[in-house]
């Protein structure tokens, strides 16, 4: 079964209840601290109903939107990333013994998570993180444990933020992979389609019936319109060669004069995976935890090696971030590290826009 079904808005509470009964911790975008982030929800009322986001470079606001619209907020600072690749997480517990020590893995014991309202760009980002933590030569046990049992309810984007450019990165606005169920929100209800056997089963449990052709056409029209109206774009043609060849383009110094090297972009990025591992030792000195924490290539320690920082200048670090994200990532993992979610643009306190930086480098290429 792969046909679209019609799902009344009221059925969302039913979906949340079923997932809860099946043992999932149900997560959805929740308004908090002036933005949205995935957090536990008990009913659709916990979602930012009737609210929309206003985004531009260096600015984010939540504002009243359209009455009854459930998924009016395109995205916020929080992606799926922290729920799979935790911002801080103990990996090992190392206990001192009479002669030496013993190292034990710390297994995370959280229940499986179900995410409602995941955008296509964030699903694409999760697939990118999978390549790093699961499909490379080494597998990350902590990531894998959370990843394998998760349930995803995607929401197709029917409006974009001005900072969005998923069309350029070919990740949206329609969810095409990585979900169990995908919803398109229409004024009078959802069009729901399954993306996995678990999603098909859920449609049966919800008792949904086939959508009419008019609903399907309306859903598609809204998504197409969203794609056409996308606020930003990035020309990705031959980007690796461009950025490699332009490693000494004067634009890197120009952007470095605006960049604060604050690492906000890497924190909100749904694919950035750099991390550090530190020891947190108990006060009696007999036990130490090896704790993984997010790191950033903008930190001074990132490329530090016995007294030398190999990327001492901000332009070295900005170039590393952008070149890795858009170019070397493709060599390393077979896809771009950017999904076009626009978070790094919105959450940059200096309003630096990577699409603008790439365009400037392209425009001045070969003239350095």
């Amino acid at each position: 079964m792969n046909e679209a079904t019609r799902m009344p808005k009221a059925a969302l509470d039913n979906l949340i209840a079923i997932l809860g009964r099946e043992g999932y911790r149900v997560m959805g975008p929740v308004a908090r601290d002036g933005t949205v982030a995935f957090d536990e929800i008990r009913s659709a009322a916990d979602l930012p109903v009737g609210i929309r986001d206003a985004q531009e470079a260096g600015r984010y606001r939540l504002a009243p939107g359209i009455d009854g619209e459930i998924f009016g907020v395109v995205n916020g600072a929080g992606s799926l990333k922290p729920h799979f690749f935790a911002p801080a997480e103990p990996l090992l517990e190392i206990r001192r013994e009479r002669r030496g020590f013993k190292a034990n893995e710390i297994a995370s014991a959280a229940p499986p998570h179900a995410f409602i309202g995941v955008r296509a760009c964030d699903l694409a980002a999760l697939a990118i993180q999978d390549r790093i933590f699961l499909h490379d030569r080494f597998r990350d046990a902590h990531y894998e444990l959370r990843r394998k049992d998760a349930f995803f309810v995607a929401v197709d984007c029917t409006r974009s933020a001005p900072t969005c450019f998923c069309v350029s990165m070919k990740t949206g606005p329609r969810a095409t992979a990585g979900f169990d169920l995908a919803l398109t929100e229409l004024p009078g209800g959802f069009v729901a389609r399954p993306g996995s056997p678990a999603g098909e089963a859920m449609i049966v449990k919800l008792g949904l019936s086939a959508a009419g052709g008019a609903d399907e056409a309306a859903a598609r029209a809204l998504i197409d319109e969203c794609a056409r109206g996308m606020g930003r774009r990035m020309d990705t043609a031959d980007l690796p060669r461009l950025l490699y060849d332009e490693a000494e383009n004067p634009r890197w110094r120009e952007v470095a004069a605006r960049c604060l090297s604050c690492a906000n972009c890497t924190m909100v990025c749904p694919t950035c995976f750099c991390h550090t591992v530190i020891d947190q030792t108990e006060i009696d000195g007999n036990m130490s935890r090896r704790v993984r924490k997010w790191d950033s290539c903008f930190s001074l320690e990132h490329a530090h090696i016995h007294g030398i920082n190999l990327r001492p200048k901000i332009h070295d670090r900005y170039r590393q971030w952008l070149t890795h994200k858009l170019a070397s990532w493709i060599d390393q993992f077979g896809s771009s590290g950017c999904v076009g979610c626009g978070r790094c643009i919105t959450w940059c306190p200096a309003g630096i826009d990577l699409t603008e930086e790439v365009a400037a480098i392209r425009a001045s290429a070969g003239k350095g």
Binding site: I94, E105, H275, D279, D295, E301, A303, R311, P312, D331
Partner: protein
């Protein structure tokens, strides 16, 4: 399912002072199963853990034929290695590995080998030279080139003298700033290549400051050695050693898993830009 970060207790069974601030620790895994399972290639490295302090990448300098007993030469340079300086026989440390690709010792078989090092000596190269001496008949002539700023920087001086006496082995030493004790060549390391009598079919392996290796690669190219027959061991910050933590990136390369040994052909373009 194990986290790639899981470290295994290993006991220090010997400690040797190479010079002030450089020590070689011989370790054996406490768990006999871990000991039996461990295999490595010349030029690979381990992550060595100091309880409560942290982990650093350290190359294995002992011979791969004896994987039960591993030697690691550690230069005291930072916060973690500062603690390691105090380690002694009987202490238990954490070891996980091996990681990285290692030296191209198979490819070098039957050929002359040019080894270039510089600065404060380079432990991976000592392991490599010992590896070749233990299989001397499998390799052609060995040419060892080493440059230092001042004679005081020349570590392992006895070893160079010992290698010099080996058959089919030439040692070329130079310093920028000689003193009275210096009876080798004077000048920068690249000048040594004037004397180097290695055929174009030789394979070169280098370790040391990147600027030195870059100059050496150009000099070796002038000798007719191909870009893909020159190899250099690079050093970067590493916290995971499995290509996940992101620190060791050198453009498209993860030095931990794609290296630490790279052909000159692979990195030539990168060395032209500083701060990559």
């Amino acid at each position: 399912m194990a986290t790639p970060y899981l470290t295994h207790p290993a006991r220090i069974v010997a400690r040797r002072t190479e010079t002030a601030g450089i020590y070689t620790f011989t370790t054996r895994f406490v768990d006999p199963a871990a000991r039996a399972a461990f295999r490595f290639r010349a030029g690979q490295f381990n992550m060595i853990y100091a309880f409560g302090v942290g982990e650093v990448p350290i190359s294995i300098v002992s011979d791969p034929e004896d994987p039960a007993t591993l030697e690691h030469t550690i230069r005291i340079a930072g916060r973690v290695t500062g603690v390691m300086a105090k380690w002694d026989v009987g202490d238990v440390v954490g070891v996980r590995g091996p990681y990285g690709n290692g030296w191209p010792v198979e490819r070098a078989r039957g050929r002359d080998v040019v080894i270039v090092t510089g600065g404060l000596g380079c432990a991976p190269v000592v392991g490599l030279i010992n590896y070749i001496f233990r299989r001397r008949d499998q390799y052609g002539d060995l040419h060892i080139l080493h440059g230092v700023k001042t004679p005081n920087d020349l570590l392992y001086r006895e070893r160079f003298d010992q290698w010099r006496r080996e058959p089919r082995t030439r040692v070329y030493l130079t310093t920028d700033h000689p003193d009275k004790s210096w009876h080798y060549r004077i000048g920068v390391v690249t000048e040594l290549f004037d004397e180097l009598a290695a055929p174009a079919s030789a394979i070169a392996m280098m370790c040391g400051p990147e600027a030195m290796m870059r100059l050496a690669a150009h000099a070796l190219r002038a000798k007719g050695i191909a870009d893909d027959a020159m190899f250099m061991s690079l050093e970067r910050r590493m916290e995971c050693a499995v290509g996940m933590c992101g620190h060791c990136q050198y453009r498209e390369n993860f030095v931990c898993k794609d290296g630490p040994v790279f052909s000159w052909r692979a990195v030539k373009e990168l060395t032209r830009v500083s701060g990559l």
